[in-house]
Structures are given as C-alpha cells and as structure tokens.
C-alpha cells in the first residue's frame, strides 16, 4: 500500500541544538516533496520544496534533504529556538498524477518542542 509516514511521537530538543525530522514514504515516485509548519489552531504554512533531482535545499536555518533511494526526506532546523516549536508536515506530489490537476499527499506531521 502507499504510505507517507512521519514520527507520530513529539520530538523534544534542547534550545540551540539541531532538530531533525523524518518523512518516509513507500510506493510513491515523488516529483517533489514539500515541508510545512503548522502552529496550534492554525493552517499550515509552506517552508521548503525539494525536487526529485535535488539532494539538498537550504533556507536560513532550515535544511531539507531528499534521498529517493531510501525513500526519505530529512528536515533539519539548526540552532533551534523555542519559537521553532510547532508541528511540521511533509507532503509529496506523486508521479504519475492521480488527478487531472495534481494533488499533494500529506503526512500526519511531527510535533517539535524546543526547550529553553
């Protein structure tokens, strides 16, 4: 069956350390993968996109890697801060496309808690 999995347990990290979140998938061939941040009671907000032919993408303190052999993406936050505490969602665009106007497939998200 097709699955996209994120660690359902909350990740507790000490402030200043690097937080690493994992997104694993099976039976998809993603054209790209996205990461979103979601604060409690709010809608998700786009952070980064990485394409199938890219190994790594960076934006300020954020870094995303994409390993199509392992079928995994890693999301890193360096020098983490309490303000980084949120739920982080990964989503992929499968290829071939399921609908006439392609859709994302979403993970359930991992809650990240940065402790001061």
């Amino acid at each position: 069956s097709q699955k996209i999995e994120q660690n359902s347990e909350a990740l507790n990290i000490q402030e200043g350390k690097t937080a690493t979140l994992t997104c694993n998938y099976t039976n998809y061939s993603p054209a790209y993968l996205q990461w979103y941040r979601q604060d409690p009671g709010r809608g998700p907000v786009f952070l980064l996109l990485i394409r199938e032919n890219e190994k790594e993408k960076r934006k300020e303190r954020l870094k995303v890697t994409f390993d199509t052999t392992l079928k995994q993406s890693l999301f890193h936050i360096t020098a983490s801060q309490p303000a980084d505490s949120a739920t982080y969602l990964c989503a992929l665009l499968d290829s071939p496309r399921r609908y006439s106007n392609y859709q994302l497939i979403w993970g359930a998200g991992t809650k990240l808690i940065i402790k001061p």
């Binding site: 809608g43 786009f46 996109l49 609908y99």
Partner: protein
C-alpha cells in the same frame, strides 16, 4: 501576501443541520481545496476545484458537496451534519500557472453534537 480567509473559526451544529463553510482567496488562484484534518490522520482532501464551476472529488467526498460560483470563493456544504464530521476544516488555494505552494486559511473548527 496571499490571503485565504475562512468565514467561521468555530462552529457548533446539531446532527442533521445543513452547514456552510465559506472560503475566499484574494490572489486570483485557479485552484482551491477543502481538506479536513484529524489527529494522527494528516490532511485528507474532500473536494477541489481547478476553475470556476469545476469540481472534483477528493479522497473523502461522502457527506459533502461544494460550490464554486466565483473564482475567489469556494464553499463546503455538509447537507446533513453528523457527529463523525466533527473536525478541523482547512481551505487552501494555489496558482495553476506559477509555483507549487499551497496557501491555507486559518481553519474552521466544526463540532457536531
């Protein structure tokens, strides 16, 4: 900045009531979406629309319908609300010609009692 506005943040409705959730976007996006989000299940697509008056079923359309009479507005309708439709509902939009980013509204928390 793109803004997606959902008309109601919190609603409490009775079983059997008809419920309307309204969503408006201000960026002239062609694509609009309705998702529901439940703990541990991730975002599940209910319906999407790729243009005015056009709609397609998502993964969980049963018990829902939608309306897109104007480009900026996408409405989700629960014809007869049931308790298993208690959830967070998220509206989103995206340009079909530029970029892959989906922009979400703040969400509507619906409780059916």
């Amino acid at each position: 900045d793109v803004k997606v506005t959902q008309s109601s943040r919190y609603l409490v409705k009775r079983t059997g009531e008809k419920v309307f959730l309204e969503c408006v976007q201000d960026m002239d996006h062609e694509n609009m979406f309705w998702y529901r989000q439940d703990p541990g299940l991730g975002l599940r697509l209910i319906y999407f629309s790729y243009d005015v008056k056009m709609k397609e079923k998502g993964d969980i359309p049963e018990g829902y319908s939608v309306s897109r009479e104007k480009k900026e507005r996408f409405s989700l309708i629960l014809e007869s609300a049931s308790t298993n439709q208690t959830s967070m509902y998220l509206c989103a939009s995206r340009s079909s010609t530029s970029g892959n980013t989906i922009y979400f509204g703040e969400g509507s928390w619906l409780t059916v009692v």
